[in-house]
Every structure is written in C-alpha cells, then in structure tokens.
C-alpha cells in the first residue's frame, strides 16, 4: 500500500501533468460553482486557454484543488487526455481517458476578493492570492497589464502578456494600478492572514519602475503601519546597479530578477526586450550578483521558464545562481496563445517532473529553508510542496496524526 508521501508525490505529479497537458471539460459544467461563489477567480489571463474555448465567457474557475490539497491552475486544452467531469450535482472529478484520477474541489475565495478599494476598484482585480490552500499566504500585484517591449516587437518568446489577440480579460482590470489600490488591497489581505506580497508587471516605458515601486512601498508601509512588510519587488535588471540598493532602502525585503533562460545565446533569442532595455545578459547576471550583496543570500529570486532550452543548460544556470545565494524558480513553460511561440508544445511531463525533483533537491543542497523560499517567491511552486512533503509539514500530515 502506498505511503502518504508516495500518494502526495503521485498527486503532485498529476498537478504538473494537468499544467503541462492542459485539461478538457464540457461547456457549462462550472456554471453552478461560479454562481455559488461569485467571488471565485476565473481566468485572469484568458490567453492561457489554448483553444479559446472560454472566449468572452470565462466560465472556468482559474484553479482546482486535488484530493490531497494541491491546487492547479486550469489550462484548457480540448485535446488533453485529462478531463474535469461532474460526478454528481456538486462533486467534480478529474479523469484521464475516462479513468478516475482524483476528486476535485475549488479554492475558497479570500475575503479581500469581496472588498473594494477607496476608489471603487474591486480588490480581486488588484491582487491575486497565490497560496492555494496553504496557511502560508502570499498575494501578488501585477501593476500593469502590458509590457513596453511590445512597442519594438521584442516580447519575450514565451510571454502572453502582450498577445491577448483581442480577447478581453474576464473582468475589467485597471491597466495601471495605483499605489493606493495596491496598499489598500495589501492591508485587507494582511488583515486576513497574508504575510508576503510581490509587486511585478511588464516593463514601463522609459524604465520608470523604481520611482513607482518606491511609492508603492511607502504607501504599503503607511497602510500596514510597519516598516518591514515582507515584500518583494520583481524588476528588470537596471543599467545602474546602484538602483537595486534603493529597493532595499525603500523597505522591500527581497527582490526578483527573472533570467528566464540561461546562457547569453539563449537569452538573446528568448528575451530580446530584456537584452535591449536591461544591458544584455551579462548585466542581468551582474544585477543578480549585486542583488545578493545588497539583500543577502536567500533574499533574491530568479525565475526560469523550464522547457525552452536543454535541461543540462537550464541546470547549469540553476546551479550557479543557487550557489551564489539566489533562490531560483523552475516554472514549467506553457505555450499560451498570443505568445510568439503559440502552437509550440512544452516538453513531456516526465521531463518537467525530473526538473522539479532535481530543482527542489538543488535548493535544499544549497541550504535554502522553506521559509526563505516562501519569502523569496511570489506563490506556491513545486519546491514549496516537495519541501513540505519531505519535511512532513504539509497540513495533511498533522491532520492525519490528529485523526490517529
């Protein structure tokens, strides 16, 4: 009989498979769920929907929760062997080629999703919870809905931010979030137990992001009444590296610079906008090295889009950065519609699974703790889950002990 750990690993791999292979469903099956909880998040970026099946309707929750509590972002793919089906009026399951894999549920909406900022903007379109069911809660703020690299046709090849193909978001989102909207939403989220936030977004024309981020930090400090709000600023590498110091001075406790792919030749291909606007690959790596000096080990993160380059090249980068104190994220590439690589496919589930297991092991080998990973990343990733399975600190372990 499989142990709990084995079951959890199986389910975690299913979570990965559903992200990589997508999931099918019959139109309308979520209507009752969405009616029951009008605050349930639907697709934020409909462009993840490979087949446009939710065009203008958005009748799909943005994520589901598997039997043992792992949440999965829904990527719709009509050709997927995985399917969400109704087992009864209220019960849903996920199947593969007709075979039952897991009962599923839907994430309860955080309270702040029902609130408004003082200018009448729904907080649910200002910030998003990226915590799943975990008690360790973090919220992310995407301050803009576009990226300035679009103007020069230099969108990162994997990115869907600039390519909505005329599709609207499920709800009107402000194209630009004010510091007041963000700080008020942060206050509401922290009041209900959130303890980490990330500010991110596309490039702003003329790279005025530092001024904006400093305003936001000040506003959050005022709203929360604390200096240290456990916030992360996700930025592009600045040409003047001393700018990184200003984020620290402003009160951000960690910083993110997403390298996306390792080695200059890949960076030049995949991120032409970052090359032009951020001093090229060498400057990006220098910025990460400088950020570790300023913020310290475990206080800098860099996200990689896993699947865009050979695995050994990817790990060359993950290993180097982890060795200098950067917490890396290996995000599985989902080729969304509207990205320059629309129609391409991500590597196999086994390829990605190997990446996630090796990556979590790499972070552990380099001495990073679960707390450091939580504080340095915008939301729950596979490293969080693997750490907590291995350490038996997922809530399910104590729940079972209590039952015992």
């Amino acid at each position: 009989m499989a142990t709990l750990k084995e079951k959890l690993y199986d389910e975690l791999k299913l979570k990965l498979a559903l992200s990589v292979e997508g999931v099918n469903y019959e139109h309308g099956i979520f209507d009752s769920v969405l009616e029951e909880d009008p605050m349930l998040k639907k697709f934020d970026y409909c462009t993840w929907d490979k087949q446009l099946v939710t065009t203008k309707q958005y009748s799909v929750p943005s994520s589901i929760v598997l039997e043992h509590g792992f949440d999965v972002g829904v990527v719709v793919d009509r050709d997927s062997p995985y399917k969400i089906e109704k087992a009864s009026d209220k019960d849903f399951v996920v199947t593969r080629n007709g075979q039952l894999l897991s009962n599923i549920s839907f994430l309860p909406s955080p309270k702040f999703y029902s609130k408004m900022t003082s200018d009448g903007t729904p907080m649910r379109v200002v910030g998003s919870s990226l915590s799943g069911l975990s008690p360790d809660k973090s919220v992310i703020f995407g301050y803009s809905t576009e990226c300035a690299v679009k103007d020069n046709d230099e969108t990162c090849l994997f990115c869907v931010m600039n390519g909505t193909k005329g599709l609207d978001a499920p709800e009107t989102r402000p194209p630009w979030k004010t510091s007041a909207q963000i700080s008020e939403t942060a206050k509401a989220a922290y009041d209900e137990g959130y303890s980490h936030l990330t500010i991110t977004g596309g490039f702003i024309p003329e790279r005025r992001e530092v001024e904006y981020y400093l305003d936001v930090a000040e506003s959050i400090q005022l709203a929360l009444g604390v200096e240290d709000f456990n916030g992360q600023a996700c930025i592009g590498a600045p040409m003047d590296l001393s700018v990184i110091d200003r984020y620290k001075e402003a009160g951000f406790s960690s910083i993110g610079l997403n390298t996306e792919v390792w080695r200059k030749e890949y960076f030049d291909i995949v991120c032409p906008g970052k090359v032009r606007m951020c001093g090229g690959y060498d400057n990006w790596i220098k910025a990460l090295e400088h950020a570790v000096k300023v913020f310290g080990r475990g206080k800098v993160r860099s996200c990689f889009v896993a699947g865009l380059q050979p695995k050994d090249v990817l790990f060359e980068g993950l290993e180097y950065l982890a060795s200098i104190g950067v917490i890396t994220i290996a995000s599985s590439w989902v080729p969304g519609i509207g990205s320059p690589l629309e129609g391409h496919r991500s590597p196999t589930v086994d390829w990605h699974w190997d990446v996630q297991l090796r990556h979590a092991n790499l972070l552990r080998k380099n001495g990073f703790t679960y707390k450091e990973i939580f504080d340095a990343t915008p939301g729950r990733g596979f490293a969080h889950e693997i750490y907590q399975i291995e350490d038996e600190t997922l809530p399910i372990f104590s729940a079972i002990q209590d039952e015992g």
Binding site: Y266, K311, D312, G343, H344, R345, P347, T348, W351, D354
Partner: protein
C-alpha cells in the same frame, strides 16, 4: 491506373500524418515478430537517425504504411501513443482511442535489400528506399561534430550509432558498396539517389563524393546518374563546382534553422566549422548559380524556432530558387532535446500550407521538388498531384484516371 486524391482527402490525410508524426503509433511486439521483414515488408534501417520516440530493439519495425487510397504514413514508434496498429483476421488496421480508422498496408521490401555488395555488405544497410524511385544513402553513420561538443541539438546520429550500428551492421560505406547498391536498385526501377551523412573529420566529403560519383558512373554506365549531394557549407565555395562537374544534378545544404541567434545555438557546429550562418547563405546562393533554380535544397528542422522566423527564411530562399523543405522536428532519443516536444498539428499544418504557397509563387515545380529532395511521397508530392502537377513518370498513370 491511379487516381489523384482530392484536396480534402489530402488535407485529411496530411493531418493524420502529422498526428502520427507527433504522437507516434504503438504496435504490439508479438505482431511485430509476425511481420515478414525477410522477404515482404520494408523495415526501418537506422543508418543515420532513429526517428522513433524511443529506442526499440526488441524486433524490427516497419518503415511506413499506406491506406487504401495510397496515401503514405510514417511509422514513428511510440509505445504510449493513442494510435495503434492491430491485426484482425489477417489484416492490419490503424486505430485511435475511438476505434478503428482504416486498413493499413505496410511498405514492401525492394529486392535489392536482400542482396549483398561484392565485399559481402548487405545492400539494405547501404541505401534505404525512400519510395519506389529514390534511394537514400548515409555514407557515414556518425558526425565528427560530436568530438568537439558541437552536435546539433536536435540530432541523434551519434546516439543512433551507439544503439543500432552493431545490431543492424551499419558502418561507413565505400564508394564501391554505394555504386553496387545503386546499380542493384536501378535494375529494379529506382532511378535517383541522395548521398548524405554526418560530418567527417577534416571535411573530406568532396573527395569522397567525387569518388562515389565516379564509381556510380562506372558501375551503372550512366553519365546522368540522378544523384543529389547533401553537403555542409564549404569554406571554399569553388568546391561547389566540383560536385556539378562530378555529375550530381542537384545539391543540398541544410540550414536547419533560420534565425541567426537560434542558428548559433541549435546548430553550433554548422556555425563554427562552416564559416557561420552567412557562409551558409553564400553557399546556397552559389549553389543556385552552379546548379540552377530548383536544383538546390535546404531542409529545416521546423518547430524549434518561431514559425514566423522559419517562414521568413523560406520566403528568402524560395525566392532565390532554393527548395526550402520543412521537416518535422522529432525530439528523438539521445538528442540534447530529448524529452522536448514539437509543436501542435495545427502549427505544422499552417506551415505546410504556407510553404506550398511559396513553392507555387516561386515556380518551384513538382519535378524541382523531387529532384532536390531526399524523399518520396511526401505531403508536398500529394499537394502537387492534387494541383495536376504530376511527376513525368506518374503523369501517364494519372492521365488515365483523370
């Protein structure tokens, strides 16, 4: 008598062919053991690349099959595929998850496959039948780029050698083995060939190719022997003239990738030992001057770079008169990109249609395509047929039916 397939039939078959390329097909080992590869069915010979999704050595594998309408499909073996070939009442069928699709007819083995060259080498290991008129010869089953760590990232020639060379008796070929095999193939109706292979140390390919041409002329007695030479871009472009003088009627220089950054990254050897991407372009332009429009090919491994970049290359090259051929990227076992996956069927379908439009726009005829390409019965051949542009030796057959 042969009936040209309609555009609808062709596009439906193309889509299925693309599905089979992407997803592969599973065939039970017991069924494979039953197939008569000795005298009846054409088996896969791994003289260059293993294009299956796994390294399967338990039995031989069929090379291809057709449906009743004569459309040809590849056998890309994948034990986990949603497609399968099964046997019922002595007949073979292709199935998908929903059930049976159609009866399949495996490719037939040419007689020369069971013959031997004068030194005892099985001819099946020397030249592989691309169809009923063209054979393909990989003179070397390894690539010298490996020693320098400069393998093309999509390529598994060296891994294929490790898995199959001893098992199937594959080795480097001598000009005499090649010429004798071509003679045997031509004696049973074949009339064209392509010679290709991995890079050999010190780039001595030109001398070897000239020796092959001489041997083929001597042994077949043909001055115009229907040969195509597939080469890497030479540093000295006057070498190109030598291939023409040796008697090759077409030449191929496979760029694989168009975008300059992606070229450097995906084909580092072709970049570093062949004078860089610009020299590949100079080579192709020179080849057009020497061989003429429609007598130069450049194959691309499509699905690695964004489609817009590939098509940008195809527009440029077909305008020059180069037959730019999209091949499906198969992230095959042993390549640096093993475990990656090629784009969707829809992605490829769109690319094929746009490529064919470029052929027509630039007056690349069916015959040009055939003479330049190292394959037969490709999806482009079917498209040309559906437009009434038949190969001369097929025209009569179609004329009866049309």
């Amino acid at each position: 008598m042969k009936k040209a397939l309609s555009q609808d039939e062709i596009y439906n078959n193309i889509k299925l062919s693309e599905q089979l390329n992407l997803h592969g097909v599973q065939i039970d080992s017991d069924l494979l053991r039953e197939l008569d590869f000795k005298d009846t069915y054409l088996e896969q010979v791994h003289s260059c690349f293993n294009m299956n999704h796994t390294t399967y050595t338990e039995t031989k594998l069929p090379d291809r099959f057709k449906n009743e309408g004569g459309f040809r499909f590849p056998v890309v073996y994948d034990p986990d595929s949603q497609y399968s070939i099964t046997k019922e009442c002595g007949k073979y069928y292709l199935n998908n998850k929903q059930g049976r699709l159609f009866e399949v007819f495996f490719g037939r083995k040419p007689a020369y496959y069971n013959k031997k060259a004068s030194d005892g080498t099985p001819m099946s290991t020397v030249a592989q039948a691309a169809g009923s008129t063209h054979v393909s010869i990989a003179y070397s089953n390894e690539c010298a780029l490996n020693e320098k760590g400069l393998d093309c990232l999509f390529c598994n020639i060296n891994a294929t050698k490790r898995s199959y060379a001893d098992l199937e008796g594959i080795a480097w070929k001598t000009p005499r083995q090649i010429a004798e095999t071509i003679k045997a193939a031509y004696d049973e109706g074949y009339f064209s060939f392509t010679i290709t292979g991995g890079f050999i140390p010190e780039r001595r390919e030109v001398d070897f190719y000239i020796d092959v041409a001489e041997a083929v002329r001597d042994i077949t007695g043909l001055e115009d022997f229907g040969g195509s030479a597939c080469i890497g871009a030479p540093l000295d472009l006057t070498v190109i003239d030598k291939y023409k003088e040796a008697g090759y009627r077409s030449i191929a220089t496979n760029m694989e990738i168009w975008d300059e950054h992606i070229f450097k990254t995906i084909v580092p050897g072709k970049d570093q030992i062949c004078g860089g991407r610009e020299n590949w372009l100079r080579t192709l332009r020179r080849e057009i001057e020497v061989f003429g429009r429609g007598r130069v090919r450049s194959t691309f491994v499509t699905g690695i770079e964004p489609k817009a970049r590939t098509l940008e290359g195809f527009e440029y090259l077909t305008d020059l008169g180069v037959v730019a051929v999209p091949s499906y990227w198969c992230p095959n076992p042993g390549s640096a990109l093993e475990g990656h996956r090629q784009p969707t069927v829809e992605w490829y379908h769109d690319l094929v249609q746009k490529t064919y439009i470029l052929y027509k726009k630039n007056s690349i005829s069916h015959l040009d395509f055939y003479i330049s390409n190292n394959a037969e019965e490709t999806i482009f051949d079917y498209l040309y047929d559906s437009d009434g542009d038949f190969l001369p030796w097929d025209a009569e057959k179609y004329a009866i039916a049309v």
